[in-house]
Symmetry: none
Subunit: 149 residues, 2 copies
């Protein structure tokens, strides 16, 4: 399965359109579906999945949906499915970001699209730099002691 890597700078235009890196679009063209799956992510970003990545997520990770407490399970599913959308790039390779996801990620004008392995992530530029300073750098230093690579 295709791995999402790399970092790309884009701008979100007044119509909430966001360019997707050509490499991702190429990969998309080789897959069955024609749309990405966009949804809210942790730490205030958005997750962007290829169809194959999305399928895998549903098949593997979400087994944990089955919990003893069905009430909580419903609550989690509601958030998960309601915030996800299918987004098909236009002829220029741009996807449309729904208003509620734009707000979730605090997207303004400068936006980052970056690979994160089994998905890509969409970040507001400022939010990313803040997050990197506060979380990524310290964590990198700390967990380095127990990582093999």
């Amino acid at each position: 399965m295709a791995l999402s890597i790399g970092r790309y700078d884009y701008s979100l235009d007044p119509k909430n359109r966001l360019s997707v890196p050509p490499k991702y679009r190429e990969t998309l063209a080789q897959e069955k579906g024609r749309s990405f799956y966009l949804t809210s992510g942790m730490e205030g970003c958005l997750y962007l999945f290829l169809p194959s990545q999305w399928e895998k997520l549903l098949a593997d990770d979400l087994k944990m949906f089955s919990l003893p407490d069905k009430e909580q399970e419903r609550a989690f599913k509601r958030k998960f499915f309601s915030e996800a959308v299918e987004v098909e790039p236009d002829a220029q390779g741009r996807i449309l970001v729904p208003q509620y996801l734009k707000e979730h990620a605090g997207l303004r004008f400068d936006v980052l699209v970056q690979g994160a392995g089994n998905r890509a992530e969409v970040w507001d530029a400022k939010r990313w730099t803040d997050y990197e300073k506060k979380m990524v750098a310290p964590a990198y230093k700390k967990i380095g002691k127990s990582l093999e690579i």
Copy 2:
């Protein structure tokens, strides 16, 4: 089978007509039946099924409803099925919400139609935000920690 995802804002008009998202209507058009199935749901919302989703519910021998207490199970099934209606969208893509279901979900003017996997759900806007604060956020926090995403 079609997975219901995404979030859409609509208004319930004075005649209790409610728009259905175009994507759901497209899917409906590709299925055998021409009607959705609408009934009362848990936590004060309404469930909206595509024909295929509804069929699956019945085909799985109704195991979704299974409870330790069989009398309670019967009681719940009775409510679920007696309150279910077939609703066919009109030329503008709106369905008619029966008065008793409107009351069950406390629908006022601002209404949400959102995907929940094996169904879509109809929520009063205010009721959803309250539910999200009280139930969704805690569940997400709890379950999210163990998820890889």
